[in-house]
């Protein structure tokens, strides 16, 4: 298998936009191509993530739609849908296409537009990623899924609402350092704890926002990457799945798909959790960050809440998590998130993250979770 590098990244500002998801992707892809220095004519495939285009934009076939709006209509294009992990799944398949020798330059990206519909509508559309026969008829929501996980984690490990709030405060502090973030204002523990319950025990400030936005990456084979500036190498990229139904999951305080994907990615890279300097992980809800830090092996099972409270995951801490502000503050345009996380890690490993730079970062990890924890992808990156 050939080595694969990320040689270009582009991300739109996240938040409210008056453009289609295809337009948002096209802006990010233009920036990624310019960043890489590779001409658009060199792109041999587009792997694209988009989730609720059919619902919010009445748009299916969003892959070729995005390629057409970018201006590369003849490139073979496939849209991936693994709920919130869609563009990370697209990324992994692009890595495999280059590693296998099929292509030398592949564009990866994703975009989402949801702020053109009401919160009640987007809540319903996101719930489509849970089971339509067994769960949706009960009125289950995504905050509800993670509230069930939070309660189980609190019951088993004594995790507190204040520990979860510490995750939100930390990620907003980081987001204030990111000019692309949807929220760029610090918040306090009291603000989180006093915010209204959305799905007990999760409150409004435990939840990431609905967001519009796009992200894109240029991936290249080693031969092409060597001709460009600062290639960031893909050291491993793995996916894992798990039961769809919450009732089938044996222990709601854990996300087995995170543990399996992480084990596979670490094995591919030949490194372990202690070798990682910076992490972008899927904090769709504060409890999701706590459970992910445990599943990735950064902390022991049950220790994630205390670690967050002690500040171990903040910039300057033992292992900085979500320097971009994470989904919580940077925003979560679900089709774009996986690619945007990679863009942040590439920026960090290049040493170009400005005030949110993790000093001397050499190895980074991205973790993206789909929907009800039934999909997880983990990738590892390193610089020369």
């Amino acid at each position: 298998m050939r080595r694969v590098a990320v040689i270009g990244v582009g991300v739109t500002k996240f938040g409210l936009h008056d453009r289609t998801s295809a337009e948002l992707f096209a802006e990010a892809a233009r920036d990624a191509l310019n960043d890489s220095g590779v001409p658009a004519s060199a792109v041999q495939a587009l792997y694209y993530g988009n989730v609720v285009g059919g619902e919010t934009e009445h748009q299916l076939h969003t892959g070729p739609q995005a390629a057409s709006v970018l201006g590369i209509p003849a490139v073979p294009t496939t849209r991936f849908e693994t709920a919130c992990a869609s563009s990370h799944a697209a990324f992994r398949h692009a890595v495999m296409e280059i590693a296998a020798g099929v292509s030398d330059v592949v564009l990866v990206g994703g975009a989402e537009r949801v702020l053109n519909v009401s919160t009640a509508e987007s809540t319903e559309y996101f719930a489509y990623a849970s089971d339509a026969v067994w769960e949706q008829p009960l009125g289950l929501t995504f905050p509800g899924v993670f509230a069930l996980i939070a309660r189980a984690h609190m019951q088993k490990h004594g995790t507190t609402e204040a520990q979860m709030a510490a995750v939100a405060v930390k990620n907003h502090r980081h987001g204030a350092l990111n000019p692309k973030a949807q929220f760029q204002k610090p918040i306090t523990i009291e603000q989180v704890l006093k915010s209204a319950y959305v799905a007990d025990p999760l409150k409004l400030f435990d939840c990431c926002p609905f967001s519009d936005g796009g992200a894109a990456l240029v991936l290249a084979s080693e031969e092409v990457a060597r001709k460009h500036r600062k290639p960031i190498w893909v050291l491993g990229s793995a996916a894992a799945s798990d039961w769809m139904l919450l009732g089938d999951k044996r222990d709601l305080s854990r996300v087995p798909a995170t543990e399996r994907a992480a084990a596979a990615a670490y094995r591919q890279a030949g490194i372990g959790p202690t070798d990682v300097d910076v992490v972008e992980l899927h904090d769709c809800f504060t409890i999701a960050e706590i459970v992910a830090t445990e599943g990735l092996g950064l902390f022991e099972p049950g220790a994630g809440g205390r670690a967050a409270e002690k500040g171990l995951t903040g910039l300057g801490g033992e292992i900085p998590v979500n320097p971009s502000g994470g989904l919580k503050a940077k925003g979560h345009p679900i089709g774009a998130t996986g690619a945007a996380q990679v863009a942040e890690i590439v920026t960090q490993l290049r040493g170009e993250a400005g005030p949110r730079q993790v000093e001397g970062a050499r190895k980074g990890l991205t973790h993206t979770l789909g929907g009800n924890t039934a999909t997880v992808l983990v990738s590892l990156f390193g610089r020369d």
Partner: protein, 127 residues
């Protein structure tokens, strides 16, 4: 070609009549509520329907306060993962239990929920 031991449609028809059904693997004894073709434990293709008692305890619960459009009139409402005494778990809507009385470990009992559109879903009420 053989028909499945039970389909999702048949599960909800029986649930409507108050009966909670599962399937048991004839080969390894694995119990499952949602119908499947293959046993996820041993991959055998031989299921037998079994009737469950409907008794269980709350493994985790939440109170939904921001709902999808179809459920907006119901808020606040509780959803729980219930571990049934036979060992399998099932997600259901909590009914006739005050929200402030909900705790992990609370005994509950299955009851069918008939929606306004006459569809059946899983509910759990006081034991």
């Amino acid at each position: 070609m053989t028909e499945p031991a039970i389909t999702a449609r048949a599960f909800f028809e029986k649930a409507r009549a108050g009966q909670l059904t599962a399937i048991r693997c004839s080969s390894c004894g694995e119990l499952s509520i949602p119908p499947r073709e293959l046993c996820p434990n041993c991959h055998a293709q031989s299921w037998q329907p079994v009737v469950l008692a409907g008794d269980g305890t709350i493994a985790s619960f939440t109170v939904i306060r921001v709902a999808p459009r179809a459920h907006a009139a119901d808020v606040p409402y509780a959803i729980a993962v219930v571990q049934l005494k036979e060992g399998v778990s099932l997600l259901g809507r909590i009914v006739d239990i005050p929200l402030e009385k909900l705790v992990v470990g609370l005994p509950v009992r299955f009851r069918p929920l008939i929606g306004k559109d006459l569809t059946t879903s899983v509910g759990f009420g006081p034991a």
